[in-house]
Symmetry: C2
Subunit: 326 residues, 2 copies
Amino acid sequence: MTEFTPAPAGLPRHATIREVGLRDGLQSIAHVMPTEQKLQWIQGAYDAGQREIEVGSFVPARLLPQLADTAELLAFAKTLPGLVASVLVPNLKGAQRAMECEAELMLLPLSASHAHSLANLRKTPDEVVADIARIVDAREATGSRTVIEVGISTAFGCTLQGRVEPAEVLRLVRAVLDAGADRVGLADTVGYADPAMVQALFALILPVAGDKLNCGHFHDTRGLGLANVYAALQMGVTRFDACLAGIGGCPHAPGASGNVSTEDLAYMLASMDIATGLDFDKLIALRSKLAGWLSTETLHGTLWRAGLPKTMKPANAPSPTMTAVA
Amino acid sequence: MTEFTPAPAGLPRHATIREVGLRDGLQSIAHVMPTEQKLQWIQGAYDAGQREIEVGSFVPARLLPQLADTAELLAFAKTLPGLVASVLVPNLKGAQRAMECEAELMLLPLSASHAHSLANLRKTPDEVVADIARIVDAREATGSRTVIEVGISTAFGCTLQGRVEPAEVLRLVRAVLDAGADRVGLADTVGYADPAMVQALFALILPVAGDKLNCGHFHDTRGLGLANVYAALQMGVTRFDACLAGIGGCPHAPGASGNVSTEDLAYMLASMDIATGLDFDKLIALRSKLAGWLSTETLHGTLWRAGLPKTMKPANAPSPTMTAVA
């Protein structure tokens, strides 16, 4: 919406924000959101223009009671025309449920960190790659049309093992594509990435994965979420995960911010004339609904308070005044 | 500190963070910080490695009682070896005081927005340029060695007039350099900039100003502060203003974030192997002191809570664990 000329680096003209708050956000929050509120959230996100929503995860309810109603949410999401409803699945059993429920897309996490993989799934990364191959075979066997996307988590570092070698991330991307995954994304699960790391890692992997690498998942744990998105945009990435109000974060760090916030990311993209199809008024209205539902949680994001710049609003819209000297 | 290869775009190896919290931060806060606390802040910032600090502003105390002790702070700052102590001056009278007090640098604000200039200084931008010329002449007359830096405020847009033409910013930069200013910086006073705007505006002005354009002043009002810094770094900018704990913001938007936070900016730079000479433990310790002094204010920044990544800490340092799936 700004009339500035495009950045020298060159940026895409369109981008997609996948709402992952119902999964990555809510799984990190002890409070169990009632299904009725989740249904309102999905409808509201759809009404605001979101066309990709990760509605939950097919994991045992005893592990994540917050996501126990995923099948019901998926069934509802599938009634919304043009909505790509996705679910996270940690194993073959979850993948079978996703295919039975005819999810448009299932997200398979693969930790590039050996330590994180063992801690989360009690499997090595290569054992997870083998599972992914089995899931691909199962899809072929059933003739399911569910897209398989692998999210390479801790791709930029890990709180358990520390550094994660870019060469290991590259090796795993090759392995899952060889195993038949349709897409891969790179996830900064713990907020270790910086913009230079993002550009370096995407530069390393894009020549191998091409347009099958098409998602960036950045947490704002240390305030670099949107800077990392900008770095990825400069590499041609056009799909990003985000959570409304930036919910999520780390269960071990109360108040720590989670994924980049949907509304702030939508603002950054719109300000740079990158089309997302999102309606800010509806997004902000949905955010205040969410703030009511999660009144005991720390929320994040800035646009809800600051509002759109006058340069992005109808000429007659009111705007706060400001008197700082510099 | 990361071992990743540099970003494809290429980044500078060193950068300077100028602490402006004592001026831009405190001027936006009603609470008047006692001089004794300000002196501790200056000493603490110096001990943490900061070598440029804007200690206040020579404006009438009736306008900004928060900054009434600027001369005393400047006198103290000048006792710290190697510290570049700067003050903001809105006019010739303030400049004369800055030169009498032998400030190393005086920051002269010039609004690129006609409406903002009239609202703040009751002068048009061209009248302010004429003042700057008079200040340059006064410096020549006195033989003062105080460096004159012009901060082009509202360079990316204005809450009063909306869009600010890049061509007008360019015209004003030319005018102040012709008038004899030593340096210029571009300020996103109201948080309207996005990374593409930053790259486009610096790309427009650097060919004219060269290394005399060497400061970026970004507010985090809409969450893009660090993304904008990254964009400026890619253009070769190596000096940035910041406020500890991101204090400041807009007096008309309670809780709105102000400048980029010193500690988060320092973290982003260090993570990208851009040397700043800053000590994180001391910065974070100073931030908690500040949080005590400003216990009624909304503070910002993320590093104080999240801590440094394990990859940036001694191998034996403790680190939080994390169990999110992706």
